[in-house]
Symmetry: C2
Subunit: 429 residues, 2 copies
C-alpha cells in the first residue's frame, strides 16, 4: 500500500498533488528499505559515557519528548534525582534538584543520544548500555540493561539503597562479563532471534520469554568461555535465565538501531520514533527530522497484577514503543496469544489487531513472520499519513507502572490520532 | 464427555447396557484421574540394565507390538543388529542374526519394560535412559537420550562407526554429567515445562524447540554445579542447546510414566499406548491390559526435506506417539502453528484438528493449555470407544524416516480405525 491513493480523497487536511504523492511514496520506500537493510548485531555492553554520542558526565537522559525540569513531577523526576546521586553529581536530593533547576545537570531525551529508555528511561554516564550495531552500516542503537523483576527499580521511578546496589551489580558484574563474552564471539545476530521468538509466542514488547531463552542458549558458552564459571558468572547466567524480559532491552536497542536508519529522508511520512514522557505521547517522522508531534497520553487498557487498582498506577514515560515502530509489540499481536488477557481479550481479537495494522504500514517484514497468519510478515513501517487518512492508530503493548514505583501489569495503548495528523500536515504543507 | 451416551446408538458393534456404560464411564474417570495425578519429574539418567524392569544383558528392546525376529526386515532389523554389536553380544552382523534367530538374543517391546522408543526405538543394556518419576507414586517412565540431528543414527536404522562413536559419547560423557546434575538438584519438574512450551508454539512431538530451550535454562546451573565447566561439560551444554528435539525424549519418558498410571483398570476404554513397528500400528487400552490391537500402518501425509521423495521413505517403528496418548503432538496441533506446513496446512486447520480431538477424549488437561483456543486444556485421555463410535481417529504428528536411514521430514498420520473398534468390541463383549 502506498500513500498515492490519498490524492483521491476529500479531506479538511492538506491534500497532496499527484506529484507530491509520488514524492512521498518514493521517500517512504527509501525509508523502509533503509530499515530493512539493517542487520542488527548485539556487539557489546559498554558504559554510557563511552558509547553514546554527545553524552557528558553531567547529562541525564530520560524517556520521551523533552520538557522543562520543573514539569517532571512523578516517577521520571524521582529517577532523574536518583541518577544524579548515583553518578555522585550531588550529595542530597535537594542539592540534585537545585542543580537540575539551574541547568548544571542537564536532562535530555534518550532519542537524541542514540538511545531508548524503558519506562522512566533514566540513563546516566556510568551505566552500562547494550550496544546493537548494524553490520552493514556500523550505525548503533543503545539501551540500558534490564534491571530485574523486583518492584523497586530506577526504571519504575524508585531510588533507594536496594536500587543502588542492583545498579552497582549490573555495572560491576553483569556488564563486564557480558561485554567480554560478546567481544570474544563477535556478537549475536538479532534478526534470527526475533524471527524465532515470533514463532514462539513473543511480541517482543510485553512478552520476550522466547527471545530471552534463545539469547540465553546463545550466550551461555561465550559467557563461560570469556569468564570461566565462578560464582559471579553463574549469577550472571542466573540473572538472564530468570528474567523473561531480559531481551526486551535488546529489542529496544535493536529498534533504535533500525529506526534511526530511516531518519531525515525528505517527504517521508514513516514514523521513526514514538515515545512517552510522564505527560505526553510524542512521535517523529522521517521527513520532519527532530521535531516532536505531541498529544496527551490516552488511557492504558491494562490488566493489573492481583490486588492493584487503576488509581495505583501512573504514567512515568517509556520508549519501549520503539518495538512497535519496527513492527513488533502491538503490531505483532497475532504472534503472542499468551498475552490475550492483556491485549484484545482473545486470539481472534489479536489477529484483528495485527490485520488492522497492515492498513497503516508500508510493507511486511520479509523475515519476521507470524505463524497464526500463515507466516505473513509483521506490519512494518508505520506511515503517519496512512494513520491520519484511515483514522487507525498504532496499537501498543505496554507495561503499567505503579504510582509509587514498580511494575503493575500490562495492557494495550491506542495511540492518539492528533500527532499523526499534525505530522501529516507538516509533511504536506 | 463420557461413554454413557453410546447406549442410545444403534450399531453393528456390541452395545453396552446402561449398567455397562456406567461401569465404563466410572472406569474411564478412574483411568484419567490416575493420569492427571502424575507429577512427572526428570530425576536421573541411568543405564538401561539398572533402570528398566525385567531387562537382561542379552535383551534388545524395540518399538511397537512384538513380531518374530524374521519379520523385522528394514530399519528395525538393522538397528537391532547394530545394538547386538554395540553390546558385544556378537562379533559380526551374521553372528548377531544367528543368535537372534536362535533366541539367544531376545527382541522385546519397549513398552513391556517401562520404556518407549524413538523410531526404531532400539534400546539395549548399556545405553543410558532418561528416568522420569512420578513424585506422587514413584512410578517411572524411560526413554533413551536423543541421539543428535545427524542423519546417521541408530534411531533411524543406521549402524556404522559414526553411530557407534556418538552412542559411546552419550554413554561416557553426556549421561553421567546429566545424571550428576539431576541427582544434585533433586530433578526437574516436567509439568511446568510442558505448560510453558505449549504457550511457546510446541506440540511436544514434532516440535520441542521451546521445551528444549526452557529445559536448557533449568539445566545449565546444575550441570555447571555438578561438573564444573571443562570442555566435556561445555560440549554437553552445546549438545542440548543445539538439538531442538532434545526434549522430545523427555516428553516420551513422561508420556510413558503418565500412561502407565492408567493401565489395568477393568472396563476402561482409555488408550494407554499407541506404537508402530515396521509393519503395524498397534494400541493398548486400560481395560484390555497387555493385549495389542493391530492394523497396517496408513500413509503418512508428510512434508519431506528438500530433494527427498516418498519412495525414499519407509516406516521403521516409533513410539513417540506416546505424546498423543497424553494429549500432546497432533492432539495439541492448535498450539504449534509453526508446524502448519507439516500438519493441516494452516493455523485454522490445526485448530480444527485439536477441536476434533476433544470429541474422542475424556477430558481436558487442567495445566497444559492452548493459547489459540482461549487457554483451553489439551484434549486428554483418548477413549477407544469414542473413537469407535465417532469414527474420528487420533491425529498424530510424526517424523518421516529415510529408507536407508536418517530423518526425512515430518507429517500427519491419521490412525486407522480398526484397532479402536476391536478394542471397543473386546471391552464390550
Amino acid at each position: 500500500m502506498t500513500t498515492a491513493s490519498r490524492t483521491a480523497r476529500t479531506s479538511e487536511r492538506p491534500v497532496l498533488t499527484d506529484a507530491g504523492a509520488d514524492l512521498r511514496s518514493r521517500a517512504n520506500e527509501t525509508a523502509v528499505s533503509a530499515m530493512l537493510a539493517v542487520d542488527p548485531v548485539l556487539v557489546d555492553v559498554a558504559p554510557v559515557l563511552e558509547a553514546l554520542p554527545g553524552m557528558t558526565p553531567r547529562t541525564i537522559l530520560t524517556s520521551g519528548a523533552p520538557m522543562e525540569w520543573r514539569e517532571y513531577t512523578g516517577g521520571q523526576r524521582r529517577a532523574v534525582l536518583g541518577a544524579a546521586l548515583f553518578e555522585g553529581l550531588a550529595e542530597t536530593l535537594d542539592e540534585a534538584d537545585r542543580l537540575l533547576h539551574a541547568g548544571e545537570i542537564l536532562v535530555r531525551p534518550c532519542h537524541d543520544h542514540g538511545c531508548v529508555g524503558s519506562v522512566t528511561g533514566v540513563t546516566s554516564a556510568s551505566m552500562p548500555v547494550l550496544v546493537v550495531q548494524d553490520a552493514a552500516s556500523g550505525r548503533r542503537g543503545h539501551c540500558v540493561l534490564y534491571e530485574g523483576s523486583d518492584r523497586q527499580r530506577l526504571t519504575y521511578g524508585v531510588w533507594n539503597a536496594t536500587v543502588h546496589d542492583r545498579l552497582m551489580w549490573i555495572r560491576r558484574v553483569l556488564a563486564p562479563r557480558l561485554s567480554a563474552a560478546l567481544r570474544q564471539t563477535g556478537g549475536v545476530r538479532i534478526n534470527p532471534i526475533i524471527r524465532r521468538a515470533l514463532g514462539m509466542g513473543d511480541d517482543l514488547h510485553s512478552r520476550n520469554t522466547a527471545a530471552t531463552a534463545v539469547l540465553f542458549q546463545q550466550l551461555v558458552d561465550p559467557v563461560l568461555g570469556a569468564n570461566g564459571a565462578d560464582a559471579d558468572t553463574r549469577e550472571v547466567l542466573a540473572f538472564i535465565r530468570q528474567n523473561d524480559l531480559f531481551f526486551l532491552h535488546v529489542a529496544m536497542a535493536t529498534g533504535k538501531c533500525i529506526a534511526d536508519a530511516a531518519t531525515g529522508i525528505p517527504h517521508s511520512s514513516i514514523v521513526t520514533a514514538m515515545a512517552l514522557n510522564e505527560k505526553q505521547f510524542a512521535l517523529r517522522t522521517s521527513g520532519t527530522g527532530d521535531r516532536w508531534f505531541r498529544a496527551p497520553i490516552p488511557e492504558l487498557r491494562a490488566k493489573l497484577f492481583e490486588g492493584l487498582r487503576v488509581e495505583d498506577t501512573a504514567f512515568m514515560g517509556g520508549e519501549s514503543l520503539i518495538t512497535e515502530t519496527v513492527g513488533l509489540g502491538g503490531l505483532a499481536a497475532a504472534a503472542a496469544f499468551s498475552l490475550q488477557d492483556y491485549s484484545g481479550g482473545s486470539a481472534e481479537a489479536m489477529m484483528r489487531i495485527t490485520n488492522e495494522m497492515y492498513r497503516i504500514t508500508a510493507t511486511e517484514h520479509p523475515l519476521w513472520k507470524i505463524p497464526s497468519l500463515g507466516f505473513r510478515g509483521v506490519p512494518y513501517g508505520i506511515d503517519a499519513s496512512l494513520v491520519a487518512w484511515t483514522g487507525i492508530t498504532p496499537r501498543i503493548h505496554m507495561g503499567a507502572a505503579l504510582r509509587e514505583g514498580g511494575h503493575a501489569g500490562a495492557g494495550l495503548l491506542i495511540a492518539p490520532i492528533e500527532p499523526f495528523r499534525e505530522a501529516d500536515t507538516a509533511l504536506t504543507a
